[in-house]
């Protein structure tokens, strides 16, 4: 049995990726299982899905805590989510990233693979710059580096179950299959420990009242775009502050907006409402 955990963002298609993998494995004549973890299903929020494939019916119905393979649909999650938790030694970390595998951080002894799924998906017109739909591309890559499903079965599963643009998705899967790069296992790091960071944990308080401010939760990690404020053209009208649903803009002593990076989800409202258009939304990986 092979156990695969998918990490993506709400709206990116991680749950569908896991389901498509199961459908494709079934078409290959194997016994699959797939299910999502139900948490906060918000656009941009971290999402987890699980898949198991075996030649016999799957005899376990639990979350996957020690996966053989971890698939990361959005590279930003490497910084904010403990995607590598429980990944077995000799296991595989497959990341949507333009970086070569050797530059990916991974727990010790874990093999690394990368595919620039965002570029491939956009080349085939799948999704938008802020929310590329990379699930089919990365499944093509997964088929290549694990052999868990055949590319042919994956193509047929896409034809049957992808609601929109199946031809483009099939082509993206083929490109993912062709261009994925597999690297060496990660060498032990200097401090000897896995370097994948863990999620923020908060202490459990006494009593039944929830009273810890949510400001400790870094929803800034959800964003794919980030506002860039051109202070020179700012008229200090404070529209950006007024309309922000995430309270992610503060005004400094002079009335200029200051972005609260930990909170900004990159919705783009501030750029849209700014009368002199001094705010631009730029890719989160390039912005502040």
């Amino acid at each position: 049995m092979i156990e695969i955990r998918f990490h993506g963002r709400g709206g990116q298609g991680a749950v569908l990726a896991s389901e498509l993998l199961a459908q494709a494995a079934f078409l290959d004549g194997r016994s699959p299982q797939s299910f999502p973890f139900f948490g906060v299903e918000r656009r941009g929020a971290p999402v987890t899905a699980y898949a198991r494939v075996d030649d016999r019916p799957i005899g376990v119905r639990t979350s996957i805590v020690t996966p053989d393979v971890v698939v990361v649909l959005e590279p930003g999650l490497l910084r904010t989510t403990s995607v590598g938790d429980g990944l077995r030694t000799g296991g595989l970390l497959l990341v949507n990233s333009p970086l070569p595998p050797a530059r990916l951080e991974a727990p010790d002894g874990v093999r690394r693979a990368s595919v620039d799924a965002t570029a491939i998906a956009l080349a085939h017109g799948l999704g938008s710059r802020t929310m590329p739909i990379v699930n089919t591309t990365i499944l093509g890559a997964l088929a290549r580096v694990t052999g868990v499903v055949s590319l042919e079965a994956l193509g047929r599963a896409i034809d049957r179950y992808v609601p929109a643009a199946p031809a483009e998705n099939r082509a993206a899967a083929t490109d993912g299959f062709a261009s994925v790069r597999l690297g060496d296992p990660a060498a032990p790091s200097a401090n000897g420990a896995a370097r994948i960071p863990f999620a923020v944990t908060v202490p459990i308080p006494e009593g039944p009242l929830a009273r810890l401010p949510s400001s400790s939760i870094r929803t800034g990690s959800w964003r794919t775009l980030v506002p860039e404020i051109d202070e020179r053209r700012c008229t200090r009208c404070n529209f950006c502050w007024k309309y922000c649903p995430d309270d992610a803009i503060e005004l400094d002593g002079r009335g200029y907006p200051v972005l609260v990076l930990d909170a900004c989800k990159g919705c783009g409202i501030c750029a849209e409402v700014c009368p002199p258009h001094t705010i631009a939304m730029v890719a989160a990986s390039e912005g502040p």
Binding site: R42, L212, P213, C237, K265, C267
Partner: protein, 309 residues
């Protein structure tokens, strides 16, 4: 440097779990600026159950009590009665419920609370459907809108019935204060929240809360769409105090509804004729409202009704 047109204090914490561009999140942020920190908030099952983040964190800097989806009105009655019995002065008791928890399953408890003259504020944030569970139809979903339970397929073209007019239902109970508001007009929303706080007896706010995933639009357009909803006359802003109507938005002539409809994926299947029909409905509603404003302007206020929980 422009003067702040809203109170600077925030009673909603950042880090909440709303979707990017969430109308209900902005509605809460603005509402609490008007209601202030001495608010006890009753929240039924709705988007905000989740937005407020899981135990032990909270996105609200006020006292909050969860309740099941249908009983917000009754929770307000209990909170008010206890506050009075315990001598907790200057407490603002308010409920914050979605359109389902207000106008559908929550209607009975809302009606009970209004009829008993409960001294509390019931706020309905209207994202026009069951959005937290993945976009299902509610009584507040507009006619012709796609949802997962009113698909556009075969002979079906979205929701077949018109949107429930909750303000009409509420006003039939003669609340001491009722108003519509829209986070795209923050000063108006905050001012109405302040007025609601200052009034006594049953009070009601109907806040339109655009939902990017549910209405199928891009997250940066929340404010633009909210403005259009009001400027087209589809969601005019007004207040009714002791039966007297006062329109606060829009000013002047109504905008055509085309842009509002075309910006939303839930109306993607609409024909030009359907859009024209909606425009006619918007104008008719607007004219009815203007008429009421004229007719009630001269009416003397009725004597106040004594308050109970």
């Amino acid at each position: 440097m422009a003067k702040l047109t809203l109170p600077a204090e925030e009673w909603m914490y950042r880090g909440h779990a709303a979707c990017p561009g969430c109308g209900p999140a902005l509605a809460m942020r603005l509402l609490l600026k008007g209601l202030g920190p001495r608010t006890i908030l009753a929240i039924p099952a709705c988007c905000w159950t989740v937005i407020a983040t899981p135990f032990p964190t909270t996105a609200l800097a006020v006292a909050v009590l969860d309740n099941p989806i249908e009983s917000t009105g009754a929770s307000l009655a209990g909170l008010r009665a206890a506050a009075d019995a315990l001598g907790l002065a200057d407490v603002t008791v308010a409920g914050f419920a979605g359109d389902g928890g207000t106008a559908d399953i929550g209607l009975q408890a809302l009606s009970g609370m209004l009829e008993r003259r409960t001294d509390a504020i019931f706020v309905m944030y209207d994202n026009e459907g069951y959005m937290n569970t993945g976009v299902q139809r509610s009584g507040a979903t507009p006619q012709g809108a796609w949802t997962t339970t009113t698909p556009v397929a075969g002979t079906r073209r979205g929701k077949r019935e018109p949107k429930k007019e909750i303000m009409e239902v509420v006003l039939a109970h003669h609340p001491s204060y009722a108003a519509t508001a829209n986070p795209a007009f923050p000063e108006d929303l905050v001012r109405k929240a302040e007025r609601a706080r200052a009034a006594r007896g049953p009070r009601f706010l109907h806040i339109l809360a655009p939902c990017p995933p549910g209405w199928r639009f891009s997250s940066e357009e929340t404010i633009a769409l909210g403005r259009l909803a009001t400027e087209t006359g589809l969601f005019p802003l007004y207040e009714v105090e002791d039966g007297v109507y006062r329109i606060t938005r829009p000013y002047g002539t109504l905008k055509p509804v085309d842009e509002y409809v075309r910006a939303q994926g839930r109306f993607r299947h609409w024909t030009d004729a359907e859009i024209r029909e909606l425009g006619a409905q918007a104008r008719a509603g607007w004219e009815r409202l203007c008429r009421r404003e004229r007719e009630t302007a001269a009416v003397a206020r009725p004597p106040p009704i004594p308050l109970t929980a």
